[in-house]
């Protein structure tokens, strides 16, 4: 309720906020619709060789065809689904691990907290993609599952650090002491006071992590460490189009556009979420 009041009080803020949020939501929504629709329908059979070799984009093949004559638009649509699955999976895994470790650190004794904080800093200093590659390489074989887990784990450090800082700030508040004195358990404190308080900031961060996970998955697939063929990941489409980039540039451009659009959409959405969730920003306007 208070939210609506504040928004109403600041008309300029509202227009700007709805602009980023709306565009972001439209783009992500579009990907979501396209991605989900591939579960029931695609323009062509994704593995079927429906056209000639490296056809230019046309009305029958909106993004042209690849070397095997497969419809690239169909493959990009499926890529959309894979990107969303990986993004969601990685954010859930990264979020669960990150929030748990972050909360543990916030509640832990000074020494344990220092150790956890230092290890998180080391993990964050380590390039996300490299970490994900190590995890994939040490697992049995490249698959969509390992890619999701690897990216999730790699991204969890940032979530953990943020959770730790936010939770510590809340823990210092007088009402926490009051709650403890009145007999609320630590779990209760987490559920009633901490999570609702830190949630808006975390959500923005998780949305950004989603975008990073999509890029990380494309990079892993590009390197052959993502979902094995025939899963049409955008990264693999880019990699397969690499050899023909001069003669049939659309094979690389089309999945590239899809990837960039989704990541921009997610970032705009995260930006919009921050505007909604951050009261200081609202008051400034």
């Amino acid at each position: 309720m208070t939210d609506t009041n504040l928004v109403a009080a600041s008309p300029e803020g509202r227009t700007r906020r709805s602009w980023t949020f709306t565009i972001g939501a439209i783009i992500v929504g579009l990907h979501l619709v396209i991605g989900l629709s591939t579960l029931f329908w695609t323009p062509y059979d994704p593995t079927g060789m429906s056209g000639g070799r490296l056809e230019m984009p046309s009305l029958s093949h909106l993004a042209g065809t690849d070397r095997l004559g497969r419809d690239l638009f169909t493959l990009i649509m499926i890529g959309s689904r894979i990107a969303l699955v990986v993004g969601t999976g990685a954010v859930i895994i990264g979020g669960l691990i990150g929030i748990t470790i972050g909360l543990l650190a916030a509640f832990a004794s000074r020494t344990l907290d220092d150790i956890l904080a230092a290890s998180l800093d080391i993990l964050i200093a380590f390039p996300t993609l490299l970490l994900a590659m190590l995890i994939v390489a040490s697992s049995d074989g490249a698959s969509l599952g390992t890619a999701i887990v690897a990216i999730g784990i790699a991204n969890s450090a940032i979530v953990a650090r943020l959770t730790r800082i936010l939770a510590k700030r809340v823990l210092r508040m007088d009402y926490i002491t009051a709650a403890r004195i009145s007999g609320t358990s630590w779990l209760g404190v987490v559920a009633i006071h901490i999570l609702p308080n830190i949630w808006p900031t975390l959500l923005v961060n998780l949305a950004l992590q989603f975008g990073l996970a999509v890029i990380a998955e494309a990079s892993l697939s590009y390197l052959g460490l993502g979902a094995p063929p025939p899963n049409a990941s955008w990264g693999r489409l880019l990699q397969e189009a690499q050899g023909t980039v001069y003669t049939a540039p659309f094979g690389a451009i089309a999945p590239g556009i899809a990837l960039v659009l989704l990541v921009i959409g997610i970032n705009l959405l995260a930006d919009g979420l921050r505007d909604i969730g951050d009261p200081t920003r609202r008051r400034r306007r």
């Binding site: 593995t47 079927g48 060789m49 070799r53 490296l54 070397r67 095997l68 004559g69 074989g141 490249a142 052959g224 094995p228 063929p229 025939p230 397969e240 690499q242 050899g243 023909t244 980039v245 001069y246 003669t247 049939a248």
Partner: protein, 515 residues
């Protein structure tokens, strides 16, 4: 290093132009014309005897020893360049003597007496003796050797060294292709150690520097016994990706690409007068090799069905555009025992289904193709997946690295089916070895290949191998998908390189770079 080479090249070009101008001023109009003509032709023949030739390749060797599973890259870089053999397979496909000055065969065909080339020195300075030859052959035939040609040398019963210049090889059975097989045996100094990382050969070049994952530098060996190379240094630069390699040639950081692997990149070189595109003959075949030991691939009907289910022409077109050749067996048209077997188990999905049902798999089955992670294997695997799905066979694709391929498949035989490019010349003999990674075991074929070896004449050998070839194709021992084209692209200023990719050898000593 690369930038420097390019710049030096540009500087010397403008230098010769300046000299031309000075000459022109001193001459009359008629002499000027003549002088320009002479200068012009002299320039065309001139080459820089100390030039560094930068060769771009996609095939980095795993190590430096061809008996330790180093892969095709080591043949490309080292055969006849760093190591020589008693004989060599020339770019035209003939066998000619190198370190063997001459040889005699006894009437029963069981004793070969080789006289060694005099005055040959190893890079370490040791002279070549018959003991080195004995050591080198035994290195290939030893139990630890991973040489793919080990089996071909089995008839060797003993090697004698009556004096330093004479080697006598005693055979247990006739071996008509002994000289040919010896062309695979690098002659190595018998005191050499650690050959996976160093070398001690007799070739025109010695190893200067090997940077794993990047480059292999060879430098001219001044003590070489034969004809001196027409260049100073050769650097093999390794790329993991064809586009990067093409760009390296376009920007001048390499002078030659040993083997172009995509038809789509050729246009940029064909339309450009600064480059030469040469199409030669290749011996590289793309194979879907089954593990013939394990079910269901131990069943001929299943293998034949899979061969009929795949439209090879369509895949060839997808990968190579208008290049490449279809083959129906392991033997390419350049081998003497080639038979056109493309009609055997030709594309026919309906009869593939019928055969599968006959074999007891009316609803198909599922298997995994271990797929090397570099082009064209992943795309070929996806193609096979689609084609085989049409006859009810489900394919899982497991992407592996070249190293994993060597350990998991070549050594441990732990696979169901795999895609692999086989580069060797005359490699039908691999089907005569039941211990080879694909485990094909047909006593008739083993016998025919053995008999062919024991032939007294090449005609007899050819007839036997033609028969073996036909049986292998009828058995669908593997699925021979297509024969690669061999395309070498170079800068216009570079000439004298081999154009055929036989055994993926790449002789560098005759390469000239214009001054």
């Amino acid at each position: 290093m690369n930038g420097l080479t390019t710049r030096t090249g540009v500087a010397s070009k403008s230098g010769s132009r300046m000299i031309g101008t000075l000459k022109a001023r001193a001459m009359t109009a008629a002499a000027l014309l003549l002088g320009a003509l002479i200068a012009g032709s002299a320039q065309a023949q001139d080459f820089d005897a100390d030039a560094t030739i930068n060769i771009g390749s996609l095939y980095e060797p795993q190590n430096l020893d061809n008996t330790a599973g180093a892969g095709q890259g080591i043949n490309e870089a080292f055969n006849s360049n760093v190591y020589e053999a008693l004989f060599r397979l020339t770019d035209a496909g003939n066998v000619e003597p190198v370190l063997a000055k001459s040889y005699k065969v006894s009437d029963d065909g069981l004793t070969y007496t080789f006289t060694l080339q005099p005055g040959v020195k190893f890079h370490s300075g040791d002279p070549l003796t018959s003991k080195d030859v004995k050591f080198s052959i035994e290195r290939v035939t030893s139990a630890e050797s991973k040489s793919s040609r080990k089996n071909s040398l089995k008839p060797i019963a003993g090697i004698e060294t009556p004096d330093d210049a004479t080697v006598v090889i005693k055979l247990s059975s006739r071996s008509i292709s002994l000289p040919y097989n010896l062309s695979y045996v690098w002659i190595v100094n018998d005191t050499a150690t650690n050959l996976t990382a160093t070398e001690d050969g007799t070739g025109p070049y010695e190893l200067e520097d090997w940077r794993r994952g990047s480059s292999l530098a060879l430098t001219r060996f001044d003590g070489y016994w034969g004809q001196k190379p027409t260049n100073g240094d050769v650097v093999f630069q390794y790329f993991t990706e064809a586009t990067a390699l093409n760009n390296a040639l376009l920007t001048g950081s390499v002078d030659i690409i040993t083997s172009v692997q995509s038809p789509d990149s050729l246009k940029q070189f064909k339309d450009n007068k600064d480059f030469t595109v040469a199409e030669g003959k290749s011996t590289t075949k793309l194979l879907l090799a089954y593990n013939d030991r394990v079910a269901p691939f131990d069943n001929v009907k299943v293998r034949k069905a899979l061969a009929r289910a795949v439209d090879d022409a369509k895949l060839l077109k997808a990968v190579w555009g208008d290049y490449g050749t279809l083959i129906g067996s392991m033997v390419p048209p350049t081998d003497p025992w080639y038979v056109d077997l493309t009609k055997t188990d030709a594309y026919d999905p309906a009869s593939a289904k019928a055969l599968l049902a006959e074999a007891g798999y009316p609803n198909g089955f599922t298997f995994t193709i271990d797929t090397p992670n570099y082009d064209p294997h992943p795309i070929a695997a996806q193609f096979l997946q689609t084609e085989l799905a049409k006859v009810g066979v489900k394919v899982n694709i497991n992407v592996i690295t070249a190293n994993e391929w060597y350990s998991k498949i070549y050594k441990a035989h732990d696979f169901q089916a795999t895609l692999q490019e086989h580069v060797n010349h005359r490699d039908i003999v691999f089907y005569g070895n039941p211990d080879f990674y694909w485990g094909y075991n047909n006593p008739k074929v083993i016998d025919l290949i053995k008999q062919a070896e024991a032939s007294a004449t090449t005609d007899e050998q050819t007839a036997k191998l033609k028969e073996a070839n036909t049986i292998i194709a009828e058995d669908a021992a593997s699925n021979w998908i297509y024969l690669y084209p061999q395309i070498v692209v170079s800068a216009k200023s570079v000439t004298g390189y081999p154009v055929n990719g036989l055994n993926s050898q790449f002789f560098v000593s005759g390469i000239k770079k214009a001054d």
